[in-house]
């Protein structure tokens, strides 16, 4: 298992930090994550009054003996987590202004988090999307599955226009059970359509985390001479003087970033604006730490 985007030292240092789901998950085996189903598990949740129709097997007879009233004993069930890494493979993800390309950064994040998840017994899957391709690697908790996932990531060649929005809708429809959806993209798409897709995922009660990948040059927009800009997705080109349009460009970009941030918050998604020159370890450590339940800090 040797891939350029995998840093085993980093993974071993992060191994002590679990990746927690923020909302109850629905796995098929017992795990470390809360399940939305209350039932017979090891962890007591609450008492509630018996109402006709309840399973009489769950009556707390001892409580009845003490109070002459029927109480139903509720438990929280723990389950495992199924994570989907949605990687945007459009041409724009290939951009590099000096730092590693955005797709490379996406590979590292997806591979590292998938490794950590499988290591803690959760399932990790992959969804790669462009306008012409929607490749899926179903989630699995088997360690051998990781190799398939890494191989797919390694073979990934970004091209064409983005297919992120249809891919998110497909995932929202396709995954029947609650899951952890990690989106790795520069989100260069229509922000209102993105908001719809995120709301769709939220409606299906998925835990959403967005890594918004941007190159430092895309944000700083610093050039010393005129440039001919060629679109990485459709190949159109314009000649511009960056000094002349820098203010307008930055203004438009800021507006876009603010809109995306607001839309992801509306969808109760976890949002991270990440420039591709950011060191990976503090990024992932902060990400994992922030997701820990407050009681476990």
């Amino acid at each position: 298992m040797s891939h350029s985007f995998l840093d085993h030292d980093l993974l071993s240092r992060l191994g002590s930090l679990p990746l927690e789901a923020r909302s109850p998950m629905m796995g098929n085996v017992a795990g470390r994550h809360r399940s939305p189903h209350h039932g017979s598990s090891v962890e007591f949740a609450e008492y509630r009054k018996y109402v006709p129709g309840d399973d009489t097997r769950r009556l707390d007879w001892k409580a009845f003996a003490r109070s002459d009233r029927f109480y139903i004993k509720e438990f929280e069930a723990d389950t495992n987590l199924r994570a989907y890494f949605v990687v945007d493979a459009s041409g724009s993800m290939n951009f590099s202004g000096g730092a590693p390309p955005k797709i490379e950064f996406a590979r590292r994040i997806a591979a590292s988090l998938a490794y950590l998840l499988v290591n803690q017994g959760d399932a990790a899957g992959l969804s790669i999307c462009t306008d012409k391709l929607h490749l899926e690697v179903p989630p699995s908790r088997r360690p051998a599955h990781l190799e398939r996932l890494f191989t797919t990531l390694e073979a990934l060649q970004p091209s064409g226009e983005t297919g992120l929005i249809p891919a998110l809708h497909t995932i929202a429809e396709k995954i029947g059970q609650r899951a952890f959806v990690v989106i790795l993209s520069d989100l260069f798409t229509d922000s209102s359509e993105l908001a719809d897709a995120l709301q769709h995922l939220r409606y299906r009660k998925h835990d959403i985390s967005v890594f918004h990948l941007m190159d430092p040059l895309e944000i700083g927009f610093q050039f010393d001479s005129p440039r001919r800009f060629v679109d990485l997705e459709d190949g159109t080109a314009i000649v511009a003087e960056p000094n002349l349009i820098a203010d307008e460009y930055k203004s438009a970009l800021h507006e876009f970033l603010a809109t995306v941030r607001a839309k992801t918050h509306d969808a109760n998604a976890d949002y991270q604006l990440v420039t591709t020159d950011t060191p990976l370890e503090p990024l992932l450590r902060d990400f994992l730490t922030a997701r820990l339940p407050k009681s476990k800090h």
């Binding site: 005129p226 990485l232 203010d247 203004s251």
Partner: protein, 659 residues
């Protein structure tokens, strides 16, 4: 503006360098694959307006800074006289107004307008690298090469004169001179724009303009006029007429103060007669005063001369009036009339009792040719209009400068003289009179008196009249608008037509309210031509030398300049004649040429009028302009730097953030 180092003007092309660099940079772009294309497109769209303008302004500032630097290096010289856009001059034709009015001082303690303008022209020419200077002065009207502008003020052809200027002629002379001149030329006119010198209604302007326009290189015309802004206070003294009456010399004079003069002043007027001087104080109640001075001549004096003068003031050239006189001439008149009441009244009017020097003789119309001589002052024609030999004699008399006063013949006639006829007699309605309604109070024999008193012409009542018909100027009209008195000017003489007779069957014209002043004034006019040989205006035929004559100034007023004797007023002996030469009356006319009139007379020429206040302390019309150009360079660069300053960033919006 001209440039003393015009070669540097080629560097103005350096203004194109920033633009060329900009265009080259635009072409030398690098290609970069780009992801955030939508923002780029949006930014490009938005930056088309304000940003593009800012960028253009920056480029313009850079280009202008370089251009201004090149212009400064070319040593620009600004000249108010030259204006903008002038290049290097080869020839300057200076038309200098040397008329008497140019000696007016623009202010107390300043030099005259002529001297100031010469100084300005000298300085300007020096700044311009001393192009060829050709002077056409208003007195001689002949082109003269001036070797150095430094000597301009010292030339006799730029000195003060008492003459008047004739600008249509001067401009034609300039055009004529320029036909033989190559290179770039300009015509500079230094004048006070006195309307009487410019003759705005003169038909010769069309010819002058045509001459200028037909030149291979049409010269620019620059007019330098020193406005007086009030100027130094001035009073002028003018001799209107002089005539000898026995042992007295009657001098009609006028004192004229400047337009802004207010109140009453007392002016000492000094009279000099044959070297003997007397001074008397004269009170001038308003802006002008016309008065008659009677000078008693020494007993037995046949001829003599003298002058009247007032103290020096704002214009030293208009403070003196010269006169000369000869032997007393008898004033003779002839009445051509049949005997009767009218003839008697006319005889009384032409030679009133007590006027010993005036005599009159009556002749029958058929005897007229035998008695007419050119020494007659006036002929009173109370008969049918002449024909045949009588008409010829009368025409000869008029050609010699005589005056003829025609009265109506009394019956309708088809006879005409000087293309004039009399209408059929007109009778007033029963119980009514023909009354004079309107007459010329300023001109003609019915004008107001020297003291402003009007003739009592409204008292005249007529029951019968005849209307003069022909091309003559009416000077008085009846109530119904028909002319009563008309004037027809011939070559030298004047024919007058009056529409009624001093006869009780016609009118009360003989009551002396109208007839006496009219006859006496016409008589005076007729007699004046005999005295006229003793007075003349500068530039007139009477003041010109005849073949064999030598001009010699004989009065003792002022400091004559022998080189300009022909253009200075004074008493001169011209051969055997003694003539008092005065400045032309037109020089005392205060009217200035209006801008519209100037536009009209110089229509089609690209003239520039530079009016400078005469009090301006700067004597030069041009100055170096390199400093303003360097300041402009600095200003452009500062403005460019301000435009290039980066805009303050809005720090409230972080560039990168996580949540």
């Amino acid at each position: 503006m001209i440039f003393l180092s015009p070669l540097f003007l080629w560097f103005v092309a350096a203004a194109a360098v920033p633009i060329a660099i900009h265009l080259l940079n635009k072409r030398r772009h690098k290609t970069i694959p780009w992801a955030a294309m939508s923002f780029l497109l949006k930014a490009t769209r938005e930056s088309r307006g304000k940003k593009k303008l800012r960028h253009i302004l920056i480029l313009t500032c850079r280009a202008l800074a370089l251009a201004a630097l090149a212009l400064a290096a070319a040593r620009p010289v600004a000249s108010g006289l030259l204006g903008w856009g002038a290049g290097r001059l080869d020839t300057v034709v200076l038309i200098l107004d040397r008329s008497a009015s140019m000696e007016a001082k623009p202010g107390d303690g300043l030099a005259s307008q002529r001297e100031l303008v010469l100084e300005k022209v000298k300085k300007t020419l020096a700044d311009l690298g001393s192009p060829r200077l050709v002077l056409i002065d208003s007195a001689s009207a002949s082109p003269t090469d001036v070797p150095s502008p430094d000597t301009l003020a010292e030339l006799s052809s730029t000195a003060a004169t008492d003459s008047e200027a004739d600008f249509p002629r001067l401009l034609s002379k300039a055009a004529e001179f320029l036909t033989e001149t190559s290179g770039r030329s300009e015509v500079w006119i230094a004048s006070d724009l006195q309307s009487s010198n410019w003759h705005p209604a003169d038909e010769r302007w069309a010819a002058a303009r045509a001459s200028l326009s037909s030149l291979p290189k049409v010269p620019a015309i620059r007019i330098l006029s020193l406005t007086q802004n009030g100027g130094a206070s001035n009073t002028s003294l003018r001799l209107i007429s002089s005539r000898r009456s026995g042992d007295e010399l009657l001098l009609d004079l006028e004192l004229l103060r400047d337009e802004n003069a207010r109140g009453t002043i007392s002016i000492p007027v000094t009279s000099s007669l044959n070297g003997a001087r007397t001074t008397e104080l004269l009170t001038v109640p308003g802006q002008s005063l016309r008065f008659q001075k009677r000078v008693t001549l020494p007993e037995g004096s046949e001829s003599g001369y003298g002058h009247l003068s007032i103290p020096a003031d704002g214009n030293p050239r208009d403070n003196v009036a010269f006169f000369a006189y000869g032997p007393a001439m008898p004033v003779r008149s002839v009445i051509v009339s049949a005997e009767g009441e009218a003839a008697q009244y006319l005889a009384l009017a032409a030679a009133p009792p007590g006027f010993g020097e005036q005599s009159v003789e009556r002749v029958e119309p058929d005897q007229f040719s035998a008695v007419v001589t050119n020494d007659l002052s006036l002929i009173l024609w109370n008969a049918p209009l002449p024909d045949g030999a009588a008409a010829e004699s009368l025409n000869r008399y008029l050609s010699a400068g005589g005056q003829v006063l025609f009265f109506p013949p009394g019956q309708a006639s088809s006879e005409s003289f000087l293309e004039h006829k009399w209408s059929a007699p007109v009778e007033a309605a029963s119980g009514k009179f023909l009354i004079l309604k309107d007459w010329n109070h300023a001109d003609g024999p019915m004008r107001d008196g020297i003291d402003g008193t009007s003739l009592p012409a409204e008292r005249m009542k007529a029951i019968r009249c005849q209307i003069p018909q022909g091309d003559s100027a009416p000077l008085a009209r009846w109530e119904d608008g028909e002319p009563f008195l008309t004037r027809r000017v011939t070559d030298r003489g004047i024919a007058w037509f009056i529409g009624s007779k001093p006869d009780y069957t016609w009118s009360n014209l003989g009551d002396a309210d109208v007839l006496l002043p009219v006859v006496q004034r016409i008589l005076e006019l007729g007699a004046a031509r005999f005295d006229a040989s003793h007075t003349a205006e500068i530039g007139s035929d009477a003041a010109a030398l005849l073949p064999g004559e030598i001009r010699e100034r004989i009065d003792d007023y002022g400091t004559p300049d022998p080189a300009n004797a022909a253009y200075e007023s004074g008493v001169y002996r011209l051969g055997s004649r003694v003539v008092a030469v005065n400045r032309p009356a037109a020089e005392d006319a205060p009217e200035l040429l209006t801008r519209d009139e100037l536009d009209d007379v110089l229509e089609g020429t690209s003239y520039t009028l530079l009016e400078q206040a005469g009090q301006a302390t700067t004597a030069d019309l041009s100055r170096d302009l390199w400093m303003p150009f360097l300041i402009a360079v600095l200003a452009f660069l500062i403005f460019e730097a301000i435009l290039c300053l980066p805009k303050k960033r809005d720090r409230s919006t972080p560039l990168a953030a996580t949540s």
